[in-house]
Symmetry: C2
Subunit: 202 residues, 2 copies
């Protein structure tokens, strides 16, 4: 049985959001499943790489804001956030995701989509665990239990482990798709990644 | 008459090299010409953006080395450099290019290709003006005169002006293609840029 595609993402990443909308279909077209793996740009980019956040980088920040809007228009993706306002604390969403992936692994894709949608399509702030109870969650999850789990130690530990794994694998950007050990970084590399999937590499 | 495509590049950039091999044909397919515009990543990335050189950035450097080799294989591009060895001083090549563009504008594309080829396909070090006399130059250029011009004040001034222009326009990466004011950054955005060219934007 073919390995799942490892899809690394940060909920604060607009390009991660764009790729999240395409990855299930890409995997299905190629007889694969998706293993959704959260990472934190705040750790990889800021701490390990010693760089600044993308949108705060001179020149590049302006380009990225323009490009994100342009990509959303091109692909007909709903974008409900002002890209000039900060995105807030990424931890509650990422911790909630990790908890769901552990306890309801069959809901991992639905949970990732729910969180990306709330943040990027609806423009909601998910900066505290409690607000997670207010978003549209996948059927089978109890809102209040989820909010409590997101505030708990287990979710924090699961996310720490996921982030450590992402750094160990060498992941530094969102999205990154790893196909049988081969990494492809960036929403603009989805076609490359799919060509690799189809051909078995080159 | 349609505006030329503004093609911003740094000779030290492998992705700039890859794009340089495709840009003439892309422009011609769409009834455009190319205005070759050197920039310096050492100014935009290091000084203005406050970032590190790509290949020296933890995690990302390893990925980029792998990706450059992978892209070269995919597109059948000859790569004669060890990506682990430093690329040396980018100024002589960039200054020589600026001087040629000013005094022999009809040779700008041929000169850019000659320099990219020497550095990336042949793996030569162009770290001093004198070595420019030893590479395969476009017909019509006298090797020794070119080497002297590359060491002169005019070439240095032309490059300073070109770099200042690139920063003013907001260029931060190589390659960047600007189509009627719309910037596309990255070798992996050539298809995007061409779609924009064909459709007039979206």
């Amino acid at each position: 049985m073919a390995q799942p595609l490892a899809f690394y993402f940060d909920f604060i990443s607009p390009y991660g959001y764009f790729a999240s909308l395409a990855i299930d279909a890409m995997a299905a077209r190629n007889g694969r499943t998706v293993d959704w793996r959260p990472m934190l740009l705040g750790v990889s980019v800021l701490k390990v790489m010693g760089l600044k956040p993308l949108l705060d980088t001179p020149l590049k920040g302006d380009y990225v804001r323009r490009d994100v809007l342009r990509q959303a228009r091109r692909h007909g993706i709903r974008l409900g956030r002002d890209l000039n306002s900060p995105i807030g604390n990424p931890l509650p969403a990422a911790r909630a995701f990790c908890w769901v992936k552990r306890h309801h692994p069959e809901l991992q894709a639905a949970m990732a989509h729910a969180l990306f949608h709330a943040i990027w399509a609806e423009g909601r702030e998910l900066s505290t665990p409690q607000v997670l109870a207010d978003i549209a969650l996948p059927a089978g999850l109890a809102p209040q239990a989820l909010a409590e789990a997101a505030a708990g130690d287990e979710a924090a530990r699961l996310l720490r482990d996921a982030v450590a794994d992402s750094i160990e694998v060498g992941i530094f950007g969102s999205p990154t798709i790893v196909i049988d050990g081969e990494p492809f970084w960036g929403f603009d590399r989805l076609a490359d990644a799919e060509a690799w999937l189809r051909s078995g590499g080159w």
